[in-house]
Amino acid sequence: MLAKVLSSAVLGVNAYLVEVEVDIALGLPVFNTVGLPDTSVKESRDRVKAAIKNCGFDFPSRRITVNLAPADIKKEGACFDLPMACGILAAMGLVKPDRLKTHLLLGELSLDGGLRGVKGALPMAVSAAERGLTGMVLPAENAAEAAVVEGIQIYGVETLPQVVQFLNGAQEIPPTRIDLQEVFAQHARYGVDLADVKGQAHAKRALEVAAAGGHNILFIGPPGSGKTMLAKRLATILPDLVLEEAIEVTKIHSICGLVPSRAALVATRPFRAPHHTISDAGLIGGGTIPRPGEVSLAHHGVLFLDELPEFKRSVLEVLRQPIEDGIVTISRAVTSVTYPACFMLAAAMNPCPCGYFTDPKHDCACAPSQIQRYRSRISGPLLDRIDLHIEVPPLRYREITTESQGEPSDVVRMRVKGARAIQQERFRRTQTFCNAQMSARQLRRHCPVGPDGQRLLETALERLGLSARAHDRILKVARTIADLEGYETIRTDHLAEAIQYRTLDRTPGR
C-alpha cells in the first residue's frame, strides 16, 4: 500500500529530484500532504481527487499520506499533481511500479484528468538526465522544451489515463525528439528590424557602437522621438546567440513559465522592458522562495529601462551588482541562490520633466532647478556604468515621410560581429569579453592615444568640463569605434566621436 514516484522541483536555476511517497492506510478517510508543501501543493489534493474520479478510477476512501522528500526544502507549484495521482493509483495496485523507478513524472492536472503545462521543465529534464533516469513523462505543452536535453527520453502526454496506460506498458508513446540545430535556426529571427527606424542616423550609429563594445547606452530625447523604438532594435544587431547561451536563456525563461507553449528554445536575445513602477525584488529577483527578476530574464539580452529617472532610487541602485558582475545573488532566510544576469543596459529619459528641453519646436516649461533635480535622480555611480549618452532629436516631417529605408539589422550585425571578433582576440585568456568591461590596467594597455589625440582630449576635458571618469569612458568607446573601423590604434576622429557620446557629463550650459 506504499508507492514511490519520482518528480522534480526547481531551486535557483537548477532542479533537484523529489521523491513523492504515497501511503494508503485504513482508518478515517483523510488526505494529508507532508514535506513542506506550500498552499499550491496542498490544493493539489482536491485536483488529484477530482481527476482520479473523473477518469473512471475509484478514489480510495482511506487514510492517504503523501510525503515529498527531501522534506527540508519548501515545495511549491502544481507540478506534483501527476506524480501524486500516479502514486495513489500505484498504491492501489492500478499502476505497475516498474516504470516509476526509472521515469520522472511532472504535470498539473485539470479536474477532468487533462494535463496542463508546468514551469521549469528544461532544468528538471537536465537534472533527471544527470541522475541517469531513462525517461520523463510531462505535459505535451512542455515536451519540446524538455527534449532539448540529450540522454533522456521525453514523453509528452495529454491525459492521466494515457500516463497510466504508458506506465503499465499497455500503450507506448513515441518519445518527443527535436532537431536542435533546425529549431535553433528556425526561431532565431526577430520581429523588428533596425530598418524600421526612420532617420536618426546619429542614434543608430551610437546603437551600433554600443552593440559592438557591449557598452550600456542611455537615450535622451523629447517624447515621441523614437527612443523606445531604437532600444527595441538593440537586441537585433547583437551577435546571434550560440546554442549554449540559448539554453541558459531558455532555462531562466522556463523557471518563470515564459517559454511559449510547445516551443523548444528561446533562440533570440531577450528584450525586457519593465515598467518604472517595478520593485527591487521584481528587478533583480527575490521572494521568500527566490525567483529570477527582470535582470536575469534579460540574461544575454537587453534590459531596457524607459523613463529612467522615474524608477525608484533603491531599484536603480540594486542594478549595480548585476551590471558589474553579470550575476545576482539573492539571500533569504530559507536559502541563497545565484542567478545569471549578464545583460546590456539600455535606458531612455526625457531631457527635463516636461520633455521638451532639447526640442527646437517646443518651449520647455521647466526651471533650471527642476531640470537639475530631475537629472540628479540618476546617481553618479549608475551613470558611471553607462558609457554612451546619446541625444535623440525629434524627427522632421521630411524624415518621417521619407521612403528610403535605413540599413537592415543583418548588415549592422555583420559589422558588430567583426568588432566583437577583434575583442575576443584581444582579451583571450582573460575574464574580459568586451571593451566595456576593460579594467584600468587593460585600458592603459589597449588604448594608447597619440599626441594629437591627447591634445584633443585635453581640450575636451577643459572646455566641456568632463571628469576623469568620463575620460576613461571616452577611451573605451573610442577603442570600440576603432575596432568597428578595423584600426589597430585609436585615431583622433575616433576620440572625437566618443567625446560627443558624453552628453550628461558636460557641465550644463557649456
Partner: protein, 129 residues
C-alpha cells in the same frame, strides 16, 4: 419546536434505515449518542464502517436536505466517529461518511424521495482534538 418537526427527523431516519437495508447495509447502531454528539446511523457495507447522517425535509424549497450538513456538523460527526472507533478498538478499519437525504414532497404521508450520497465528506482539515 413543534412535535411534528421532531417527528419529521425520526420519520426520516426510519425511511433511511429501511432504504440502506435494501441496499445491503448492515445497521450496527441507531442514534449512537456520546457526550460529543450523536450519529444517526452506523452501518457496515462490505467491510467498510459507514457513518450516516440523515437529513429530512418536507420540500426542496430551501435547498436540498443535504445542503444543511454544514461544516460544523461534519466536524461533530467526525469527532463522534473517532470516539466510536476508539471505544470499539477499530483503528485499522476502512470507514466512510455518507449522507442520506430524505424529502417528503407531499407531506409526511406521501412517498419520500431518498438520496444516498456515498463518501459525502472526509475528515480532512479537521483537528484531531
Amino acid at each position: 419546536m413543534k412535535a411534528g418537526r421532531l417527528g419529521l427527523g425520526a420519520e426520516g431516519e426510519r425511511v433511511a434505515k429501511a432504504y440502506l437495508q435494501t441496499k445491503g447495509f448492515r445497521i450496527l447502531h441507531e442514534n449512537y449518542s456520546t457526550p460529543l454528539g450523536e450519529i444517526d446511523l452506523i452501518a457496515k457495507e462490505g467491510g467498510v464502517v459507514v457513518f450516516v447522517e440523515v437529513k429530512a425535509r418536507t420540500s426542496g424549497e430551501f435547498g436540498p436536505p443535504q445542503a444543511s450538513v454544514t461544516l460544523a456538523k461534519q466536524r461533530q460527526i467526525v469527532k463522534v466517529a473517532r470516539l466510536y472507533l476508539q471505544r470499539e478498538r477499530l483503528a485499522e478499519v476502512a470507514c466512510r461518511f455518507d449522507v442520506v437525504a430524505v424529502t417528503f414532497a407531499g407531506g409526511q404521508a406521501g412517498q419520500p424521495n431518498v438520496l444516498l450520497i456515498r463518501d459525502a465528506f472526509s475528515s480532512e482539515g479537521i483537528a484531531l482534538f
